[in-house]
């Protein structure tokens, strides 16, 4: 009886398997932030984003670009540095319950990664199409690019690398080596950002915004396929979680 009481006390004291607060806050963070960004685009895209030579363009758009690049470098270094610095050096000796808890935390990262990919690759990328169909560009740093390429893509890159870093440093499943599909799921979408170099280089030669299906854009397509590698991550996770739960579900 005493042992049971101790066990109940321990259960009450221990952290929950899934931290729902973190999951909700993570999702809300992207939603609220991107809602603000969309409002900003709506107001300052038209009023200050049409002429890149105008002083207000510098004020509302170029300054935003500078600020976001600095913030992204700090966030990337800070999050990944923290995850690496606080890595578990005895990851193979954790209890099954702790491993399950970490899988849940890992899935909070992955949920946020999927959510960030949606905003970057779907919402802001197609939005860029309608902006270019409407406004003839006079700079590589159009308002839609400052949001799409230099904000939403780095954000999903930061989220994806953090998910990978968390898995690699805290989960026994990923301790045996580098998970090929996880690497592709993170590096593939990441490569979309360097591919912006090709895209913008091409656009300095030709006005191709008239056609969204132009071959110049196929680099984005190729690296977008890498999102499918999330299936390999899912399969590995399902096997790992099944191993942890199998005897209890049998």
């Amino acid at each position: 009886m005493a042992a049971t009481t101790e066990s109940v006390k321990a259960d009450a004291a221990e952290a929950p398997l899934l931290n729902k607060r973190n999951l909700t806050l993570g999702m809300l963070l992207y939603l609220v932030f991107y809602s603000f960004i969309r409002w900003y685009e709506g107001v300052y895209g038209w009023s200050a984003g049409l002429d890149s030579f105008a002083p207000e363009f510098e004020t509302y758009w170029m300054n935003m670009l500078y600020i976001e690049i600095v913030c992204e470098v700090i966030l990337f270094s800070g999050i990944n540095g923290y995850l690496w610095k606080t890595r578990d050096r005895k990851v193979m000796s954790i209890t099954p319950r702790e491993e399950l808890r970490r899988h849940f935390t890992h899935w909070i990262w992955l949920v946020c990664y999927g959510w960030a990919i949606y905003w970057g690759a779907s919402y802001f990328t197609e939005q860029d199409g309608t902006w270019h169909q409407t406004i003839v560009r006079d700079t590589d740093f159009t308002p839609s690019h400052i949001i799409e390429f230099y904000l939403s893509y780095p954000i999903y890159i930061i989220t994806g690398t953090a998910a990978f870093m968390y898995a690699k440093t805290r989960l026994p499943t990923y301790h045996e080596g580098l998970h090929l599909m996880y690497l592709i799921a993170v590096i593939g979408p990441f490569m979309i950002l360097p591919n912006v170099g090709l895209n913008e280089w091409g656009h300095t030669f030709w006005f191709m915004e008239e056609l969204f299906v132009a071959p110049l854009h196929y680099g984005f397509v190729f690296f977008g396929w890498a999102a499918l590698a999330i299936m390999g991550v899912v399969n590995t996770e399902v096997m790992a979680i099944t191993k942890l739960l199998k005897k209890d579900l049998a």
């Binding site: 099954p96 399950l100 999927g114 990919i117 197609e126 999102a227 899912v234 942890l244």
Partner: protein
């Protein structure tokens, strides 16, 4: 085995944990596929999908199924062959269409003020459902590729016909004959408006009149078969769980 060696305290908790993971996995798969599929589709078939005056009887009918059967085939290769879930194609297309509809409303209309009835997305659902049903009933990749792929191409135009037909009626405007969809494009000028940019009704096949759409759909179905095979194997590859040697560990 003692309780401390178990990851969960009871069978009930194990079931709850399992269901919670299901939802988290589904959400992540859904949004990641949405992102990848959407960027692929908008940059390989997007212009035909964005605007009604690009939705012609020849190239729209040909291009859209060929470039859109890709992700459904790949996701089927994982969800059916690993988990016996017959929803791979449908879930991919539903994800894509949700992403597209949000965008057309929030951005095409909400930011750049194109009416939704010039920029609504194509309907890909009938073909996707047929792909899943054929895979579920036949349990054969080859059958799904050949019959499903062909059906995917053939069903595209009928699946969109109720929406597009009212915009394909002829009108005379400034002495010229055009469709109502062309007239929409004429009034909503875009950087893709010039006729040397707009890829519609090219060549002489269009002179066959009523036969253009079925011929294009049949050709599209033929290529979709090949693309299905290819992307099935892409899907299998992307579903691998291999590790590569980590010298650092």
């Amino acid at each position: 085995m003692s309780a401390s060696q178990s990851a969960v305290r009871s069978r009930a908790e194990a079931v709850q944990v399992s269901r919670t993971f299901d939802w988290m996995i589904l959400f992540t798969l859904f949004t990641a596929v949405l992102g990848g599929y959407h960027i692929h589709y908008m940059l390989t078939g997007g212009d035909w999908d964005f605007w009604t005056d690009w939705k012609d009887r020849r190239l729209w009918v040909t291009v859209a199924p060929i470039v859109s059967i890709t992700f459904p085939a790949a996701v089927q290769a994982c969800l059916w062959w690993r988990y016996r879930l017959p929803i791979g194609a449908t879930i991919s297309v539903v994800a894509l269409m949700i992403g597209e509809w949000i965008n057309r409303y929030m951005n095409f209309w909400g930011w750049t003020y194109f009416p939704v009835n010039i920029c609504f997305p194509s309907n890909l659902l009938p073909g996707a459902i047929v792909l899943d049903v054929i895979l579920m009933l036949g349990n054969s990749m080859t059958l799904t590729a050949v019959v499903g792929g062909l059906a995917y191409g053939l069903l595209f135009y009928p699946g969109n016909w109720p929406v597009i037909a009212p915009l394909h009626v002829p009108v005379e405007y400034n002495g010229m004959m055009m469709t109502l969809a062309d007239l929409q494009g004429y009034h909503y000028v875009r950087t893709g408006t010039p006729e040397y940019i707009r890829m519609v009704e090219k060549g002489t096949l269009r002179t066959f009149g009523k036969d253009v759409a079925p011929v294009s759909a049949f050709f599209s179905g033929f290529v979709s078969i090949i693309i299905y095979f290819l992307w099935h194997f892409f899907g299998r590859w992307f579903a691998k769980t291999d590790f590569i040697a980590d010298d650092a560990s």
